[in-house]
Symmetry: C2
Subunit: 413 residues, 2 copies
């Protein structure tokens, strides 16, 4: 962090001034927090990205519609049911959730965004959401961000949040975020649920490209299981409560803000990969020598999603042949004679040569909790990094048990 | 089989006349058969398809080169080591294997095709192959086809073979095949190892399109784990020993031959899906209402490779929401409002409507050993079928243990 113009501070989406948040249990799940609200006390600009899954959930459409004008002030989320594959009844329920929050906060429903996460295909128990709303709104607090991070969890084992601070025009500006996700995590999508707030004033037409670029180098670079979800959404709200503002793309403060945003989204994304369902290892795949960063990330994702590679990492097997086979699937541009493969710092294949190496040492290094894979494509100067986890028997057992869905402790599944 | 112009008979690649085969243990693996040979006593035309993996094994290049003229008489295979990612030393070894067989059978090396399957990255123990060759050639028998099916096995739990008989010009003609494969099985490739023989005479320029079409509707329609292999190869030899011949694409016998070939390859492919590593269920995914058969198969493969779908099938979970999420990943052409989803004969989603259904009955049906999934895209009249298996904790455990590779009981891994 020493070279960056920002530094991390404790907190989450309520670290920036003028935001409040809360979470309660309204009865969708038996005991856990299952209804969360984040809101700005001031008018705020908004940017949103959502999943590209064609069976995407009703709330993703309502959220896109409500953020289309570039303004929004609140985000309501329920966990336990995804409100996906629920037909027009699901749309009506998503709209009703925004209306309930709008009425309680004295805002137009169009200023409220909505997300759901949990079991796919079930209609929402609207009576429980209606019943819980007064309690949720009454619980809103200027330090409720971490509670909201808990309220949006499904199979997550820890709440995921981060905040940073930086200076603009001598004023302290903050950016905070929360996110959730542990399974049904795959690239080529917007991301899992993630809410970001800042007290910098940023016009919506500058907020959107900043968010798109940040998501591209963070949530689009992680994979747990290669399975794209129906509900992924990232929301960024900027309310200007710091008194500082960005006015144009040339403003140096915009550069600082974008750098801070990239840092927060990347760290939150890594938390999701680290919390992959029943995983035991965190894996960083760095691809260099690519013709472009998109190509580098594509190769990284191909390796990350190769099941036999993920299974070998779980087993501590120094099975670099699976790495070669995975890279070979990435596309016609792959040239084994130009390639170099390195796993946990050992290089068994260098520019077309099969090298002798110390297999015992390789196996020893594979027992570490963090595994590094490096692939030099030998084609160009671009690079990219992808983060993932191992594939375990526990992941399969966990996702095979339908009881998990009965108790609502599920991702979109 | 009642409407087809062919019928199944016992046997394998030696069911057609003029073929012999054998397998021995030459010491690459501790006890199992690990060296297999199939050969024609007469000149034979040949067609070959190989994997599209860019890290493909040395023998796939040598086999393509030797079949380029449309003629070949023998196929030598070792299991235990894949001879992939082995650089130019691996190429020399693959060539040496064809030379050894050619010398022993009195054939030019260019008439011999070669395949390897097993652990990726290791050099072959050529001394063992050289040492075993005389014994292998001496063991060749006109009824050795089933033994050869055993000799090419890696993690397979049963040998895979099939033969059919049909009539051409009043003469009995036979077509037989053997194949192997249980893990690192994925579409968009040629296939796993499969050898097909016929005693019909078929010119090479008719043999190749017949094989391509047959592979497209068989091996390219199965997936076990979505992981494309480095060594996949299908070889078809036609030696004319029946006395019957196909002379042109308009010849009615060519149509009969193609139908028989499609049947044999499809049944062999289904055996591979049924033998998926540590799987417990066989899954048939039929996609109708597509704009083309390629689109239908693409949707089927997307569903088959969705890990959470495969895990739910293992667990007997009637989790149709995962089916919806999987279909939603298939592409922009997916329209939930036109779609109908059916799982084990129950329809929870019909043309955009979320339907009530009997969940208890759904769960009961999910306990069956064979699971059917039907997706009507509502876009057109084309259809396609994909076969797969469930994903089990055992699959991950099995592929996590590096001991498996030490004992050579592995796929290309």
């Amino acid at each position: 962090m020493t070279d960056t113009p920002f530094h991390e501070i404790p907190g989450a989406v309520t670290a920036p001034r003028g935001f409040r948040a809360a979470a309660i249990n309204c009865g969708i799940k038996p005991h856990q927090l299952d209804l969360a609200l984040v809101c700005s006390d001031l008018a705020a600009t908004a940017a949103v990205t959502v999943t590209t899954n064609r069976f995407r959930a009703a709330p993703t459409y309502v959220t896109e519609e409500h953020a289309a004008d570039g303004f929004a002030r609140a985000v309501i989320t329920n966990s336990g049911k995804a409100n996906a594959a629920t037909d027009e009844r699901g749309w009506a329920m998503a709209r009703e959730m925004t209306q309930l929050v709008g009425d309680a906060l004295g805002l137009p429903a169009a200023e409220v965004l909505v997300c759901s996460t949990g079991h796919i295909g079930d209609l929402l128990p609207m009576d429980k959401i209606v019943g819980g709303m007064p309690r949720l709104v009454a619980a809103l607090r200027p330090d409720g961000g971490e509670e909201a991070a808990q309220g949006i969890m499904t199979t997550d084992t820890f709440p995921k949040h981060l905040a940073v601070e930086f200076e603009v025009e001598g004023k302290s500006v903050r950016l905070g975020g929360i996110c959730k996700g542990a399974g049904m995590i795959c690239p080529n999508m917007a991301t899992m649920l993630c809410y970001l707030t800042t007290d910098l004033a940023v016009p919506a037409d500058l907020l959107r490209p900043a968010l798109r670029a940040a998501v591209d180098q963070s949530f689009n670079c992680i994979t747990v299981d290669g399975d794209m979800s129906t509900n992924d959404t990232v929301i960024l709200l900027a309310n200007g409560a710091s008194g500082a503002a960005v006015t144009s793309a040339d403003d140096p403060a915009y550069g600082t803000f974008c750098a801070a945003l990239q840092h927060v989204t990347r760290e939150l994304a890594k938390m999701i990969a680290r919390d992959g369902e029943r995983c035991t290892k965190f894996v960083t795949i760095r691809v260099t020598g690519a013709q472009g960063s998109a190509q580098a990330r594509h190769v990284g994702r191909t390796i990350a999603n190769y099941r036999l590679m993920q299974a070998a990492i779980f087993g501590g097997d120094y099975n670099w042949g699976r790495l070669a086979a995975a890279v070979g699937c990435a596309g016609d541009f792959i040239e084994p004679r130009l390639l170099t493969l390195t796993m946990v710092g050992i290089t068994p294949w260098e520019k077309g040569r099969n090298l002798d190496f110390d297999l015992t040492e390789g196996r020893r290094r594979m027992t570490a909790p963090e595994i590094s894979i490096e692939v030099d494509l030998g084609l160009g100067a671009a690079e990219g990094t992808v983060w993932t986890c191992d594939l375990t028997p526990g992941y399969v057992e966990y996702n095979a048990e339908y009881e998990t869905s009965l108790f609502g402790e599920t991702q979109e599944d």
